[in-house]
């Protein structure tokens, strides 16, 4: 299994990488939505992308819309991991194509639970 972590904070990317590695994932990283699209354009096909909302260059919502607009990326699961916690924003993210939504700060258990809901961990 391969996960792509998209967050402008190196600290958050490190936390999620450690967590995902412990769950058996190989992990790729990107610092914003545009960089993540470049990773996908280069042929990387993660099973799941964990993406922050507020980032420079391209935000997470725009990134999700871009991914969902491309047929060849339809099989990738998308999880928004963000400090944005209002109901309206959760609805927007899910409507744009996010499968799961996690609010920071999170616990390891919450991420594992969401990945289980996506059928990516037991």
């Amino acid at each position: 299994m391969l996960a792509l972590v998209v967050d402008d904070s190196r600290a958050m990317r490190s936390i999620l990488t450690r967590l995902l590695s412990g769950l058996g994932f190989d992990v790729a990283q990107a610092g914003d939505g545009a960089e993540a699209l470049s990773v996908l354009d280069a042929g990387t096909r993660p099973d799941v992308i964990l993406v922050d909302w507020n980032m420079p260059v391209m935000d997470g919502l725009t990134f999700i819309k871009n991914v969902r607009a491309r047929e060849e990326l339809r099989d990738i699961s998308l999880m928004m991991v963000t400090t944005e916690s209002e109901q309206g924003q959760i609805v927007r993210a899910l409507a744009a194509g996010a499968h799961e939504y996690v609010i920071k700060p999170f616990t390891d258990e919450v991420i594992a639970e969401k990945l289980a809901l996506l059928g990516l961990v037991a």
């Binding site: 904070s9 190196r10 600290a11 507020n54 260059v57 400090t83 209002e86």
Partner: protein
């Protein structure tokens, strides 16, 4: 009720918020403190703005802590035994980002959150007008201040445009 009165009325909620965020990020129990300030020496602080499009007002959220706490946070978050200056800024920036998002949920619904900006300074005292709450983690104080519009220069929206563009378009 003025914005500051509103922040003051939410003081206990802000204290609880800071303790919860610190506990989660540091992986250590955080406790409220009322009569202790930051130690002397370099302070690492992050700030971000919350913009209310309805009345075009800004709420400023800042987090300040000692370089000791910043170093431990960076070491734990980035898994490095000897974090550099950029690592400290990144870790405290993310702490401020998480705190800011939670403050927005508490006080400023349906508003827009800027990206955080972090820096090291010798002089990052809380504003005199805002509401500041404190908690201790790792035996050191962390301060969270919520205030009405301060200086938004150097802050950026997600996507990349500076907040100062919004101010210039008003005039």
């Amino acid at each position: 009720m003025s914005a500051i009165d509103e922040f003051e009325a939410a003081r206990e909620d802000l204290e609880a918020l800071l303790i919860e965020v610190l506990g989660a990020v540091a992986g250590e129990e955080a406790l409220p403190v009322w009569d202790e300030g930051l130690p002397s020496g370099p302070i690492v602080w992050s700030r971000l703005a919350i913009h209310d499009e309805e009345d075009d007002s800004f709420t400023m959220v800042s987090v300040r802590t000692s370089s000791i706490v910043a170093r431990v946070l960076a070491s734990r978050m980035l898994l490095t035994p000897d974090p550099g200056p950029d690592d400290l800024l990144d870790a405290v920036g993310e702490l401020g980002n998480i705190a800011g998002g939670n403050v927005k949920s508490l006080l400023r619904h349906s508003c827009r959150l800027s990206l955080p900006a972090a820096e090291v300074t010798e002089d990052a005292k809380p504003t005199e007008t805002g509401v500041t709450v404190r908690a201790a983690v790792l035996g050191q104080v962390v301060e969270l201040t919520v205030d009405v519009a301060g200086d938004v220069s150097g802050l950026y929206w997600p996507g990349g445009s500076p907040l100062t563009d919004a101010l210039e378009s008003r005039s």
